[in-house]
Symmetry: C2
Subunit: 212 residues, 2 copies
Protein backbone atom coordinates (compact mmCIF):
# COMPACT_ATOMS: atom_id res chain seq x y z
CA UNK A 1 0.00 0.00 0.00
CA UNK A 2 2.96 2.23 -0.49
CA UNK A 3 1.36 3.76 -3.54
CA UNK A 4 -1.83 4.62 -1.74
CA UNK A 5 0.15 5.92 1.19
CA UNK A 6 2.06 8.20 -1.11
CA UNK A 7 -1.18 9.30 -2.71
CA UNK A 8 -2.60 10.16 0.66
CA UNK A 9 0.57 11.91 1.63
CA UNK A 10 0.53 13.99 -1.53
CA UNK A 11 -3.09 14.83 -0.97
CA UNK A 12 -2.25 15.90 2.54
CA UNK A 13 0.64 17.97 1.29
CA UNK A 14 -1.65 19.70 -1.17
CA UNK A 15 -4.14 20.51 1.55
CA UNK A 16 -1.27 21.71 3.69
CA UNK A 17 -0.02 23.92 0.88
CA UNK A 18 -3.45 25.47 0.46
CA UNK A 19 -3.88 26.04 4.18
CA UNK A 20 -0.46 27.60 4.61
CA UNK A 21 -0.98 29.83 1.62
CA UNK A 22 -4.31 30.92 3.03
CA UNK A 23 -2.76 31.53 6.44
CA UNK A 24 -0.02 33.60 4.83
CA UNK A 25 -2.50 35.73 2.94
CA UNK A 26 -4.54 36.29 6.08
CA UNK A 27 -1.48 37.26 8.07
CA UNK A 28 0.02 39.61 5.48
CA UNK A 29 -2.97 41.10 3.68
CA UNK A 30 -5.61 40.76 6.31
CA UNK A 31 -8.55 38.62 6.97
CA UNK A 32 -11.01 39.76 4.30
CA UNK A 33 -8.51 39.79 1.44
CA UNK A 34 -8.47 36.03 1.31
CA UNK A 35 -9.95 34.68 -1.92
CA UNK A 36 -9.97 31.34 -3.68
CA UNK A 37 -8.48 32.80 -6.79
CA UNK A 38 -5.68 34.43 -4.85
CA UNK A 39 -4.74 31.16 -3.23
CA UNK A 40 -4.85 29.44 -6.61
CA UNK A 41 -2.60 32.02 -8.19
CA UNK A 42 -0.05 31.77 -5.40
CA UNK A 43 0.31 28.03 -5.79
CA UNK A 44 0.06 28.07 -9.59
CA UNK A 45 -3.09 26.04 -9.84
CA UNK A 46 -6.52 26.62 -11.25
CA UNK A 47 -9.08 27.98 -8.78
CA UNK A 48 -11.26 24.98 -9.37
CA UNK A 49 -8.75 22.52 -7.96
CA UNK A 50 -9.22 23.89 -4.48
CA UNK A 51 -12.70 22.46 -4.40
CA UNK A 52 -11.17 19.07 -4.87
CA UNK A 53 -9.48 19.37 -1.51
CA UNK A 54 -11.90 21.51 0.42
CA UNK A 55 -15.66 21.76 0.40
CA UNK A 56 -15.67 25.53 0.16
CA UNK A 57 -13.93 28.67 1.30
CA UNK A 58 -15.38 28.48 4.80
CA UNK A 59 -13.78 25.12 5.39
CA UNK A 60 -10.38 26.55 4.55
CA UNK A 61 -10.99 29.53 6.75
CA UNK A 62 -12.16 27.58 9.75
CA UNK A 63 -9.24 25.16 9.52
CA UNK A 64 -6.79 28.01 9.48
CA UNK A 65 -8.53 29.57 12.43
CA UNK A 66 -8.62 26.29 14.30
CA UNK A 67 -4.84 26.09 14.11
CA UNK A 68 -4.54 29.63 15.32
CA UNK A 69 -6.67 28.70 18.26
CA UNK A 70 -4.51 25.70 19.08
CA UNK A 71 -1.33 27.75 19.01
CA UNK A 72 -3.15 30.22 21.17
CA UNK A 73 -4.14 27.92 24.00
CA UNK A 74 -0.66 26.45 23.98
CA UNK A 75 0.90 29.76 24.93
CA UNK A 76 -1.43 30.44 27.82
CA UNK A 77 0.41 28.64 30.58
CA UNK A 78 3.67 30.54 30.20
CA UNK A 79 5.14 31.31 33.59
CA UNK A 80 2.12 29.97 35.34
CA UNK A 81 4.05 27.64 37.60
CA UNK A 82 6.19 30.51 38.85
CA UNK A 83 3.19 32.29 40.31
CA UNK A 84 2.96 31.58 44.01
CA UNK A 85 -0.57 32.48 45.08
CA UNK A 86 -3.87 31.64 43.36
CA UNK A 87 -4.45 35.33 42.77
CA UNK A 88 -1.05 35.68 41.13
CA UNK A 89 -1.77 32.67 38.99
CA UNK A 90 -5.06 34.10 37.80
CA UNK A 91 -3.39 37.41 37.07
CA UNK A 92 -0.74 35.68 35.01
CA UNK A 93 -3.28 33.66 33.08
CA UNK A 94 -5.35 36.72 32.42
CA UNK A 95 -2.36 38.71 31.25
CA UNK A 96 -1.09 35.90 29.02
CA UNK A 97 -4.50 35.61 27.43
CA UNK A 98 -4.80 39.30 26.69
CA UNK A 99 -1.26 39.74 25.44
CA UNK A 100 -1.41 36.71 23.20
CA UNK A 101 -4.71 37.84 21.76
CA UNK A 102 -3.34 41.31 21.05
CA UNK A 103 -0.42 39.88 19.09
CA UNK A 104 -2.82 39.07 16.27
CA UNK A 105 -6.20 40.59 17.15
CA UNK A 106 -7.64 39.96 13.72
CA UNK A 107 -7.07 36.26 14.01
CA UNK A 108 -8.21 36.12 17.61
CA UNK A 109 -11.42 37.97 16.99
CA UNK A 110 -12.08 36.00 13.84
CA UNK A 111 -11.95 32.86 15.95
CA UNK A 112 -14.04 34.32 18.73
CA UNK A 113 -16.68 36.06 16.68
CA UNK A 114 -17.13 33.73 13.76
CA UNK A 115 -20.22 31.61 14.11
CA UNK A 116 -19.61 28.98 11.47
CA UNK A 117 -20.26 25.51 12.91
CA UNK A 118 -16.67 24.34 12.81
CA UNK A 119 -15.40 27.38 14.60
CA UNK A 120 -18.22 27.31 17.07
CA UNK A 121 -17.25 23.81 18.04
CA UNK A 122 -13.87 25.11 19.02
CA UNK A 123 -14.79 28.30 20.78
CA UNK A 124 -18.38 28.45 21.94
CA UNK A 125 -17.82 26.66 25.18
CA UNK A 126 -19.46 29.16 27.35
CA UNK A 127 -22.91 28.06 28.31
CA UNK A 128 -23.01 24.28 28.35
CA UNK A 129 -20.87 21.88 30.32
CA UNK A 130 -18.32 24.58 30.12
CA UNK A 131 -16.29 23.43 33.08
CA UNK A 132 -15.54 19.96 31.72
CA UNK A 133 -15.21 20.55 28.02
CA UNK A 134 -12.72 23.17 27.19
CA UNK A 135 -9.16 23.32 28.53
CA UNK A 136 -8.98 27.09 28.66
CA UNK A 137 -12.15 27.62 30.59
CA UNK A 138 -11.34 24.61 32.69
CA UNK A 139 -8.13 26.31 33.73
CA UNK A 140 -10.03 29.48 34.51
CA UNK A 141 -12.72 27.53 36.34
CA UNK A 142 -10.21 25.89 38.67
CA UNK A 143 -8.51 29.17 39.42
CA UNK A 144 -11.76 30.84 40.28
CA UNK A 145 -12.55 27.99 42.63
CA UNK A 146 -9.15 28.32 44.26
CA UNK A 147 -9.65 32.01 44.89
CA UNK A 148 -13.31 31.95 45.84
CA UNK A 149 -12.72 29.36 48.54
CA UNK A 150 -15.18 26.88 49.98
CA UNK A 151 -18.93 27.21 50.13
CA UNK A 152 -19.76 28.03 46.54
CA UNK A 153 -21.75 25.86 44.17
CA UNK A 154 -20.43 24.79 40.81
CA UNK A 155 -22.91 27.06 39.15
CA UNK A 156 -21.71 30.03 41.15
CA UNK A 157 -18.13 29.34 40.17
CA UNK A 158 -19.04 28.77 36.56
CA UNK A 159 -21.03 31.96 36.42
CA UNK A 160 -18.09 33.95 37.74
CA UNK A 161 -15.77 32.28 35.25
CA UNK A 162 -18.13 33.07 32.38
CA UNK A 163 -18.33 36.70 33.38
CA UNK A 164 -14.56 36.90 33.60
CA UNK A 165 -14.20 35.31 30.17
CA UNK A 166 -16.73 37.67 28.66
CA UNK A 167 -15.18 40.74 30.23
CA UNK A 168 -11.74 39.73 29.03
CA UNK A 169 -13.03 39.33 25.50
CA UNK A 170 -14.50 42.80 25.70
CA UNK A 171 -11.25 44.31 26.85
CA UNK A 172 -9.38 42.67 23.99
CA UNK A 173 -11.92 43.94 21.49
CA UNK A 174 -11.66 47.47 22.81
CA UNK A 175 -7.87 47.44 22.99
CA UNK A 176 -7.52 46.01 19.51
CA UNK A 177 -9.85 48.59 18.01
CA UNK A 178 -7.85 51.48 19.37
CA UNK A 179 -4.68 51.80 17.29
CA UNK A 180 -3.38 55.05 18.76
CA UNK A 181 -2.54 53.94 22.22
CA UNK A 182 0.93 53.79 23.69
CA UNK A 183 2.38 50.77 25.39
CA UNK A 184 2.42 52.44 28.79
CA UNK A 185 -1.26 53.19 28.84
CA UNK A 186 -2.05 49.77 27.48
CA UNK A 187 -0.04 48.13 30.24
CA UNK A 188 -1.79 50.22 32.82
CA UNK A 189 -5.21 49.18 31.63
CA UNK A 190 -4.25 45.52 31.44
CA UNK A 191 -2.73 45.66 34.91
CA UNK A 192 -5.78 47.22 36.37
CA UNK A 193 -8.01 44.81 34.55
CA UNK A 194 -6.23 41.74 35.87
CA UNK A 195 -6.76 43.09 39.37
CA UNK A 196 -10.44 43.44 38.56
CA UNK A 197 -10.47 39.86 37.38
CA UNK A 198 -9.15 38.71 40.73
CA UNK A 199 -11.89 40.69 42.41
CA UNK A 200 -14.46 39.04 40.19
CA UNK A 201 -13.18 35.68 41.35
CA UNK A 202 -13.32 36.67 45.02
CA UNK A 203 -16.94 35.84 45.54
CA UNK A 204 -17.53 36.31 49.24
CA UNK A 205 -16.25 39.79 49.86
CA UNK A 206 -17.08 43.20 48.57
CA UNK A 207 -20.58 42.58 47.39
CA UNK A 208 -22.09 45.99 47.90
CA UNK A 209 -25.82 45.44 47.57
CA UNK A 210 -27.81 48.52 46.80
CA UNK A 211 -26.23 50.36 49.65
CA UNK A 212 -26.33 54.11 49.71
Amino acid sequence: MTIEERRDREKQQMKELILQTAAHIILTEGFEKLSIRKIANRIDYSPAIIYHYFRNKDEILSQVLRRGHQDFTASLSDGLSEAATPAARLKTLSRNYIRTALKDPGQFLAVQLNDSPEVLEVTAYMFENAAEKKPTLNLLYRMVRDIAGEGFSDREIELAAQIIAASTLGLIVKLSLEKNIDEYQKNKIIDRFTETVVRMASLEQGKPETRE
Copy 2:
Protein backbone atom coordinates in the same frame (compact mmCIF):
# COMPACT_ATOMS: atom_id res chain seq x y z
CA MET B 1 -35.44 79.76 -4.57
CA THR B 2 -38.45 77.56 -4.15
CA ILE B 3 -37.34 75.49 -7.10
CA GLU B 4 -33.93 74.85 -5.66
CA GLU B 5 -35.47 74.11 -2.31
CA ARG B 6 -37.72 71.53 -3.86
CA ARG B 7 -34.73 70.07 -5.68
CA ASP B 8 -32.87 69.75 -2.43
CA ARG B 9 -35.88 68.26 -0.77
CA GLU B 10 -36.26 65.67 -3.51
CA LYS B 11 -32.60 64.86 -3.30
CA GLN B 12 -32.96 64.41 0.43
CA GLN B 13 -35.98 62.21 -0.07
CA MET B 14 -34.06 60.04 -2.47
CA LYS B 15 -31.21 59.66 0.01
CA GLU B 16 -33.76 58.88 2.65
CA LEU B 17 -35.36 56.25 0.46
CA ILE B 18 -32.02 54.59 -0.15
CA LEU B 19 -31.10 54.65 3.52
CA GLN B 20 -34.41 53.24 4.65
CA THR B 21 -34.29 50.52 2.03
CA ALA B 22 -30.79 49.64 3.17
CA ALA B 23 -31.89 49.61 6.79
CA HIS B 24 -34.80 47.36 5.93
CA ILE B 25 -32.57 44.89 4.12
CA ILE B 26 -30.13 44.83 7.01
CA LEU B 27 -32.91 44.26 9.49
CA THR B 28 -34.71 41.53 7.56
CA GLU B 29 -31.98 39.70 5.67
CA GLY B 30 -29.04 40.45 7.84
CA PHE B 31 -26.03 42.60 7.75
CA GLU B 32 -23.94 41.02 5.00
CA LYS B 33 -26.77 40.54 2.54
CA LEU B 34 -26.88 44.22 1.79
CA SER B 35 -25.83 45.01 -1.77
CA ILE B 36 -26.07 48.01 -4.05
CA ARG B 37 -27.96 46.07 -6.68
CA LYS B 38 -30.46 44.83 -4.11
CA ILE B 39 -31.21 48.35 -2.96
CA ALA B 40 -31.56 49.49 -6.56
CA ASN B 41 -34.00 46.68 -7.39
CA ARG B 42 -36.15 47.45 -4.38
CA ILE B 43 -36.59 51.09 -5.33
CA ASP B 44 -36.83 50.40 -9.08
CA TYR B 45 -33.76 52.31 -10.06
CA SER B 46 -30.54 51.47 -11.81
CA PRO B 47 -27.66 50.49 -9.51
CA ALA B 48 -25.60 53.31 -10.89
CA ILE B 49 -27.90 56.00 -9.57
CA ILE B 50 -26.97 55.22 -6.01
CA TYR B 51 -23.50 56.57 -6.63
CA HIS B 52 -25.08 59.86 -7.46
CA TYR B 53 -26.33 60.16 -3.90
CA PHE B 54 -23.65 58.33 -1.97
CA ARG B 55 -19.93 58.03 -2.45
CA ASN B 56 -19.95 54.27 -2.04
CA LYS B 57 -21.50 51.40 -0.15
CA ASP B 58 -19.58 52.12 3.02
CA GLU B 59 -21.11 55.56 3.25
CA ILE B 60 -24.58 54.08 3.13
CA LEU B 61 -23.67 51.49 5.69
CA SER B 62 -22.13 53.90 8.13
CA GLN B 63 -25.07 56.29 7.90
CA VAL B 64 -27.50 53.49 8.65
CA LEU B 65 -25.36 52.40 11.57
CA ARG B 66 -25.04 55.95 12.84
CA ARG B 67 -28.81 56.17 13.11
CA GLY B 68 -28.93 52.86 14.91
CA HIS B 69 -26.44 54.21 17.36
CA GLN B 70 -28.51 57.31 17.96
CA ASP B 71 -31.66 55.32 18.61
CA PHE B 72 -29.57 53.19 20.89
CA THR B 73 -28.24 55.91 23.16
CA ALA B 74 -31.71 57.41 23.35
CA SER B 75 -33.12 54.30 25.00
CA LEU B 76 -30.47 54.06 27.65
CA SER B 77 -31.98 56.27 30.29
CA ASP B 78 -35.25 54.36 30.61
CA GLY B 79 -36.30 54.17 34.23
CA LEU B 80 -33.09 55.74 35.35
CA SER B 81 -34.76 58.40 37.44
CA GLU B 82 -36.72 55.79 39.40
CA ALA B 83 -33.54 54.25 40.76
CA ALA B 84 -32.86 55.58 44.23
CA THR B 85 -29.23 54.81 45.00
CA PRO B 86 -26.19 55.35 42.77
CA ALA B 87 -25.63 51.60 42.72
CA ALA B 88 -29.20 51.01 41.57
CA ARG B 89 -28.77 53.64 38.90
CA LEU B 90 -25.63 52.02 37.57
CA LYS B 91 -27.34 48.65 37.61
CA THR B 92 -30.24 50.04 35.62
CA LEU B 93 -27.98 51.70 33.09
CA SER B 94 -25.97 48.55 32.69
CA ARG B 95 -29.06 46.41 32.24
CA ASN B 96 -30.61 48.84 29.75
CA TYR B 97 -27.44 48.86 27.74
CA ILE B 98 -27.17 45.09 27.58
CA ARG B 99 -30.85 44.49 26.86
CA THR B 100 -31.00 47.12 24.14
CA ALA B 101 -27.89 45.74 22.51
CA LEU B 102 -29.30 42.22 22.56
CA LYS B 103 -32.44 43.32 20.76
CA ASP B 104 -30.43 43.64 17.57
CA PRO B 105 -26.96 42.25 18.28
CA GLY B 106 -25.95 42.30 14.64
CA GLN B 107 -26.52 46.00 14.38
CA PHE B 108 -24.97 46.72 17.76
CA LEU B 109 -21.83 44.75 17.05
CA ALA B 110 -21.59 46.19 13.57
CA VAL B 111 -21.49 49.63 15.12
CA GLN B 112 -19.05 48.64 17.83
CA LEU B 113 -16.65 46.55 15.79
CA ASN B 114 -16.59 48.38 12.50
CA ASP B 115 -13.50 50.51 12.14
CA SER B 116 -14.41 52.65 9.18
CA PRO B 117 -13.66 56.31 9.90
CA GLU B 118 -17.27 57.45 10.04
CA VAL B 119 -18.27 54.78 12.46
CA LEU B 120 -15.15 55.24 14.51
CA GLU B 121 -16.04 58.85 15.00
CA VAL B 122 -19.26 57.77 16.60
CA THR B 123 -18.07 54.90 18.72
CA ALA B 124 -14.39 54.96 19.46
CA TYR B 125 -14.64 57.24 22.43
CA MET B 126 -12.69 55.13 24.78
CA PHE B 127 -9.17 56.30 25.10
CA GLU B 128 -9.09 60.02 24.48
CA ASN B 129 -10.93 62.73 26.34
CA ALA B 130 -13.44 60.04 26.93
CA ALA B 131 -15.08 61.67 29.89
CA GLU B 132 -16.08 64.87 28.10
CA LYS B 133 -16.85 63.72 24.60
CA LYS B 134 -19.41 61.00 24.50
CA PRO B 135 -22.72 61.13 26.30
CA THR B 136 -22.91 57.43 27.07
CA LEU B 137 -19.51 57.18 28.67
CA ASN B 138 -20.10 60.49 30.30
CA LEU B 139 -23.13 59.02 31.99
CA LEU B 140 -21.14 56.00 33.01
CA TYR B 141 -18.28 58.17 34.19
CA ARG B 142 -20.49 60.19 36.49
CA MET B 143 -22.08 57.10 37.96
CA VAL B 144 -18.71 55.54 38.69
CA ARG B 145 -17.66 58.72 40.44
CA ASP B 146 -20.86 58.71 42.50
CA ILE B 147 -20.24 55.17 43.63
CA ALA B 148 -16.50 55.35 44.11
CA GLY B 149 -16.79 58.34 46.41
CA GLU B 150 -14.18 60.98 47.12
CA GLY B 151 -10.45 60.66 46.89
CA PHE B 152 -10.03 59.26 43.40
CA SER B 153 -8.35 60.98 40.49
CA ASP B 154 -10.08 61.52 37.17
CA ARG B 155 -7.79 58.98 35.61
CA GLU B 156 -8.75 56.40 38.19
CA ILE B 157 -12.42 56.94 37.55
CA GLU B 158 -11.95 56.93 33.81
CA LEU B 159 -9.96 53.73 33.96
CA ALA B 160 -12.71 52.02 35.92
CA ALA B 161 -15.33 53.30 33.48
CA GLN B 162 -13.34 52.01 30.53
CA ILE B 163 -12.98 48.60 32.08
CA ILE B 164 -16.70 48.48 32.77
CA ALA B 165 -17.49 49.48 29.20
CA ALA B 166 -15.13 46.89 27.79
CA SER B 167 -16.46 44.15 30.02
CA THR B 168 -20.02 44.98 29.09
CA LEU B 169 -19.16 44.80 25.42
CA GLY B 170 -17.65 41.38 26.01
CA LEU B 171 -20.75 40.11 27.77
CA ILE B 172 -22.94 41.28 24.92
CA VAL B 173 -20.71 39.60 22.37
CA LYS B 174 -20.78 36.33 24.28
CA LEU B 175 -24.51 36.44 24.89
CA SER B 176 -25.30 37.28 21.30
CA LEU B 177 -23.14 34.48 19.96
CA GLU B 178 -24.91 31.85 22.00
CA LYS B 179 -28.27 31.22 20.42
CA ASN B 180 -29.38 28.29 22.54
CA ILE B 181 -29.82 29.98 25.85
CA ASP B 182 -33.10 30.39 27.66
CA GLU B 183 -34.34 33.65 29.04
CA TYR B 184 -33.99 32.54 32.64
CA GLN B 185 -30.31 31.77 32.36
CA LYS B 186 -29.74 34.93 30.39
CA ASN B 187 -31.40 37.01 33.08
CA LYS B 188 -29.32 35.35 35.73
CA ILE B 189 -26.10 36.14 33.95
CA ILE B 190 -27.10 39.72 33.31
CA ASP B 191 -28.19 40.16 36.91
CA ARG B 192 -24.96 38.83 38.22
CA PHE B 193 -23.00 40.89 35.77
CA THR B 194 -24.63 44.15 36.79
CA GLU B 195 -23.66 43.39 40.37
CA THR B 196 -20.13 42.85 39.18
CA VAL B 197 -20.27 46.20 37.45
CA VAL B 198 -21.17 47.89 40.70
CA ARG B 199 -18.24 46.16 42.35
CA MET B 200 -15.99 47.42 39.58
CA ALA B 201 -17.13 50.94 40.34
CA SER B 202 -16.54 50.55 44.09
CA LEU B 203 -12.91 51.41 44.01
CA GLU B 204 -11.86 51.55 47.63
CA GLN B 205 -13.02 48.24 49.01
CA GLY B 206 -12.29 44.63 48.19
CA LYS B 207 -9.00 45.09 46.45
CA PRO B 208 -7.35 41.81 47.30
CA GLU B 209 -3.73 42.34 46.36
CA THR B 210 -1.76 39.18 46.03
CA ARG B 211 -2.96 38.13 49.42
CA GLU B 212 -2.85 34.57 50.83
